[in-house]
């Protein structure tokens, strides 16, 4: 299509230049008609060839996007057509005589049409280029915004997922503690109700604080032990300050099957006056480093000087432990006990379980203290008979 437009543009002056004189200055004749038709065909052919060649050159050079080059090309076609027309006129008469008013009018009309078409083409091309640039810029911006939004959404989603996971973990931890404490309470309520239904039930028998202390210790053991892999071992221990007021002595130990599993042979590590590497975790918990001492990895802690094994065999049996000192509300500062949990599972008391133990062990210690005080204040079971209903 562009080639035909160029061809017609080039042919227009040729045709006007030939038809006008032929129809107005000379009587119509077969000779004039043939000459004009030949001029038209020659103009169309020359314009088409020139336009095609010009376009090919522009395409080869990659200059198609430059509207001024197209304008130059079209102008060159007009100039060539003019030269050809003049040459044909010179064949008939002189060059100056061919510039009669009709020919000039034809040239003017053709030139105006050409200038208009070139102007329109230029405007359209520039507008298209400008629009394309604007659209490309907008597309690039939209893409940037989309990428940026996607990245932000991903970050928000990741952060939200992590927050949700952390909250769920925290909720499950609280739920586990609440469940075990609640079940201890529920068991106690059930015992009270059962005692109420007896003829000679007593409050002391119903509450049985001494038994409740053992229950609490064993429930704590069982609750933590269920988080161990099968085949691993867990012990819970209670240490009290001895009569010498220096040595912390093992008062109770439970491994899930039997009690008093501590040998108590290593009193030299249990003196609250000990310093440096000779101090056990129990002593550390009692002292200013307490109330909590977590030993995630015994051998690593030993290398760091924070922990000591009492004998080489202990390295296989005790790989991770926690010691917590519970100071009671009694009048004496010696009214305190250290509760320990130790396992042969390395890195057991770390991470989530460490966080859980920081809540769980004090909660159980407070309940043990409560039961101990109840037991201490009401030693005679017959003193608190439940009144008849």
């Amino acid at each position: 299509m562009p080639h035909s437009v160029h061809a017609l543009t080039a042919a227009a002056p040729l045709w006007f230049a030939q038809v006008a004189p032929a129809t107005n200055l000379a009587p119509p004749s077969w000779h004039n008609i043939v000459v004009n038709l030949l001029a038209l065909v020659a103009g169309v052919a020359a314009g088409g060839i020139f336009a095609y060649a010009g376009r090919r050159i522009l395409a080869k050079k990659g200059w198609e996007a430059y509207p001024h080059l197209l304008a130059v090309l079209d102008a060159a076609i007009v100039v060539l057509a003019g030269i050809l027309t003049s040459s044909m006129d010179l064949w008939k008469r002189s060059a100056w005589l061919s510039l009669d008013p009709y020919t000039l009018a034809a040239y003017g009309t053709a030139g105006g049409l050409l200038a208009g078409s070139l102007g329109m083409k230029w405007i359209i091309t520039v507008t298209k280029e400008s629009t394309k640039t604007t659209v490309d810029a907008l597309k690039a911006k939209i893409k940037d915004v989309e990428l940026s939004s996607d990245a932000r959404i991903k970050v928000i989603q990741t952060e939200s997922s992590e927050t949700i996971r952390a909250l769920e973990k925290e909720r499950d931890r609280v739920l586990r503690i609440e469940a075990v404490v609640g079940e201890v309470m529920q068991a106690k309520l059930s015992r009270l109700v059962a005692e109420l239904q007896k003829e000679n039930g007593t409050l002391a028998t119903a509450l049985a604080p001494e038994l409740q202390i053992h229950r609490l210790i064993q429930v704590l053991h069982g609750h933590v032990a269920k988080q161990l892999p099968t085949g691993s071992r867990l012990r819970v221990g209670i240490y009290l300050l001895g009569d010498d007021k220096i040595t912390l002595e093992p008062a109770f130990a439970w491994d899930g099957e039997k009690s008093n599993v501590f040998s108590g042979k290593y009193a030299e590590y249990m003196k609250i006056t000990s310093h440096g590497r000779a101090r056990s975790a129990v002593v550390q918990a009692w002292g200013p480093d307490g109330p909590f001492i977590f030993i995630a990895d015994g051998e690593e802690a030993e290398r760091q000087g924070r922990f000591c094994y009492f004998n080489p065999a202990q390295r296989q049996k005790l790989r991770s432990m926690v010691a917590y000192c519970h100071y009671m509300k009694g009048p004496s500062p010696d009214d305190a006990f250290v509760i320990t949990l130790d396992s042969d599972q390395a890195a057991f008391f770390s991470g989530d379980l460490e966080v859980e133990c920081r809540l769980l062990v004090p909660a159980f210690s407070r309940r043990i203290e409560l039961e101990l005080l109840a037991s201490f204040l009401a030693p005679n079971p017959q003193a608190s008979t439940i009144p008849p209903r």
């Binding site: 075990v180 069982g222 009290l240 008062a251 109770f252 037991s375 030693p379």
Partner: protein, 65 residues
């Protein structure tokens, strides 16, 4: 050692008491585990229900927009 701590030692040294409650302690731990699982299931169901209830409310808004 204070009288309270001495009493504590006496209570703790009662091995028969420890043995007598061991079964009950295991049962308490087991029930706590069941309670935790029940709560987790209930939480999951509630979250699913809330998600299902919130969907019909949000979808028409999107189509209207």
């Amino acid at each position: 050692m204070t009288a309270l701590m001495r009493h504590f030692r006496t209570v703790l040294s009662d091995e028969s008491a420890a043995r007598s409650v061991s079964q009950e302690a295991r049962e308490i731990v087991r029930r706590a585990e069941v309670t935790v699982e029940r709560h987790k299931t209930e939480n999951a169901s509630r979250q699913d229900r809330q998600l299902a209830e919130s969907k019909p409310q949000t979808e028409p808004k999107r189509s209207a927009a």
